[in-house]
């Protein structure tokens, strides 16, 4: 969280003064959607996301938000409603968790393939079997390859701010955005949140301009059967085949970093909270040991950093904000001085390792950085992870600092086995 929230708000002369409210993560997400003036909300309640849907249906019912709340019978339908409504020009929002997100899987691909700027709040929760309603990040990580941009919030302020920014990003690059935040740790924990005024958000976020214009006077077909090869349309113009459209989606995500940073900077200029970065850095300048984590876990890592610094170790924290697109080049620059990178993952790609660990290693390949990467799987299914446990894991990894690059095939787990 930015340290100078109150002070910075007064520095931005144009924005209204800070309006600090105590909000839990779910309320922050609902407020973010409301301030973004969403027009269609389709969601199905699931723990721990339920309060988001409750708050938004209340806003719509009371008339505080001019939106259509569609009470669907499943998450698959929720995303189908969002894509259809987005297609005809409405700003759409949904929220879900775990099994609900998994049930949406097919339509997540559809939203991205149709290049519809839907925004989804994913309240991170473990997936069964066995049943578990508590927090980890397996749900959104399992949707990694659907073509969505993924933002991970560290605290409730970031949830609210990220949802507002998500619309500006999504509607600029025409890629849907998933704003992910940890269940309970954030979703059910109240924190002070500066809630911007509607007037200021309206200045930041222009109305949605769809690229799919449905007009009876000028009928169009969208996303019909598109076979392997490009073909000419009736006017003789050669149109993309399936593979060209896939390429364009990848190109849009590759290029979206620029938009994400620009939008984050604009947000900072108006609201005093700067998001012009794909990740957060803390004490990286002199650090030869870097802890990497995503979401609220990165905040926990900062506490561990404090403990390790007391021991005289030069430790820094890199908190990943963006997981898709993954900021490879920027990371290599930030990790230049690292000799030991300890990656904590609240997810596991079974048979391999944690998802962020794979990404970090892939980013380092071919760079000049000769750092050992140690990966720890932590906090699955709501298992409490304490700062001292993170610190202990770093201490346990210290021999790698001396031996240099180490190829450890599989991650270590912080659990009772």
């Amino acid at each position: 969280m930015p340290k100078t929230r109150r002070a910075s708000a007064s520095l931005t002369k144009k924005a209204n003064k800070a309006n600090i409210r105590l909000l839990d993560g779910n309320q922050a997400a609902a407020e973010g959607a409301k301030l973004s003036r969403v027009q269609v909300i389709a969601a199905y309640p699931i723990t721990p996301q339920t309060p988001v849907t409750e708050a938004l249906s209340e806003f719509a019912e009371r008339g505080d938000l001019k939106a259509e709340y569609v009470a669907v019978e499943s998450e698959h339908s929720a995303m189908a409603v969002c894509t259809s409504a987005s297609m005809v020009g409405a700003r759409t929002f949904t929220a879900t968790s775990a099994h609900g997100l998994a049930y949406m899987h097919e339509m997540l691909h559809w939203a991205a393939g149709a290049r519809l700027p839907v925004v989804l709040a994913c309240v991170n929760r473990a997936i069964g079997a066995p049943w578990n309603v508590l927090n980890d990040q397996q749900d959104s990580i399992s949707q990694r390859d659907t073509g969505w941009i993924q933002i991970y919030a560290r605290n409730n302020q970031e949830i609210l701010d990220s949802i507002i920014q998500a619309y500006k990003i999504a509607e600029s690059v025409y890629v849907p955005v998933m704003v992910c935040f940890d269940g309970y740790v954030l979703s059910h924990t109240e924190m002070p949140v500066d809630v911007p005024s509607q007037e200021d958000v309206d200045r930041f976020l222009p109305p949605y301009k769809p690229h799919t214009i449905l007009d009876p006077a000028n009928p169009k077909n969208y996303n019909l059967v598109t076979l392997a090869d490009p073909r000419a349309n009736a006017d003789g113009v050669l149109c993309h085949g399936y593979m060209e459209l896939r390429y364009l989606l990848q190109e849009a995500l590759q290029n979206s970093a620029e938009t994400i940073i620009k939008v984050g900077q604009e947000f900072g200029e108006l609201f005093g909270r700067n998001y012009a970065n794909m990740f957060w850095k803390d004490n990286l300048d002199d650090a030869d040991i870097v802890i990497v984590a995503m979401g609220s876990l990165a905040m926990e890592a900062k506490v561990a950093m404090g403990m390790l610094r007391e021991d005289g170790l030069k430790v820094g924290v890199l908190g990943l904000r963006m997981f898709r697109p993954f900021p490879k080049a920027a990371l290599v620059k930030a990790l230049e001085k690292a000799r030991l990178i300890v990656v904590f993952d609240k997810n596991i790609s079974y048979g391999s390792e944690g998802a962020t660990s794979s990404e970090i290693k892939s980013a380092l390949y071919g760079s000049q950085i000769k750092a050992a990467v140690r990966n720890f799987i932590v906090g699955l299914g709501g298992r409490d992870i304490k700062a001292r446990e993170l610190a202990d894991a770093v201490r346990k990894s210290l021999p790698s600092l001396k031996t240099g690059a180490l190829n450890i095939e599989y991650p270590e787990w912080i659990c009772y086995i």
């Binding site: 290049r115 000028n218 009928p219 169009k220 969208y222 996303n223 349309n233 149109c239 993309h240 364009l248």
Partner: protein, 91 residues
């Protein structure tokens, strides 16, 4: 020739003849009309036209004699099945 000129970011087209390409190329069997058996051709007046009514691709023209547009006929053979005079065969 590259495909960026179409300026689409998702699959997009306008409903028009030929928008899906020359679908006649998909055909393996071709319908052949025998006008000597076809009811409208024999009676020289509007009648029957079940082939026109049932053709899923609307490529049969309701003229006397009827015309089949082979550029877009996919060769499904429904016209053969519905013709009461057995005036169309597949070859």
């Amino acid at each position: 020739m590259r495909t960026r000129d179409c300026k689409h970011i998702c699959d997009e087209s306008s409903p028009a003849i030929g928008e899906a390409g020359k679908t006649g190329e998909w055909r393996s069997l071709t319908p052949v009309i025998h006008h000597n058996k076809c009811i409208p051709a024999k009676q020289k007046k509007q009648s029957c036209f079940l082939c026109w009514l049932y053709c899923p691709d609307a490529i049969i023209k309701k003229t006397i004699p009827i015309q089949i547009n082979l550029e877009y006929c996919k060769g499904c053979g429904i016209c053969v099945q519905v013709c009461p005079a057995k005036a169309i065969t597949m070859a």
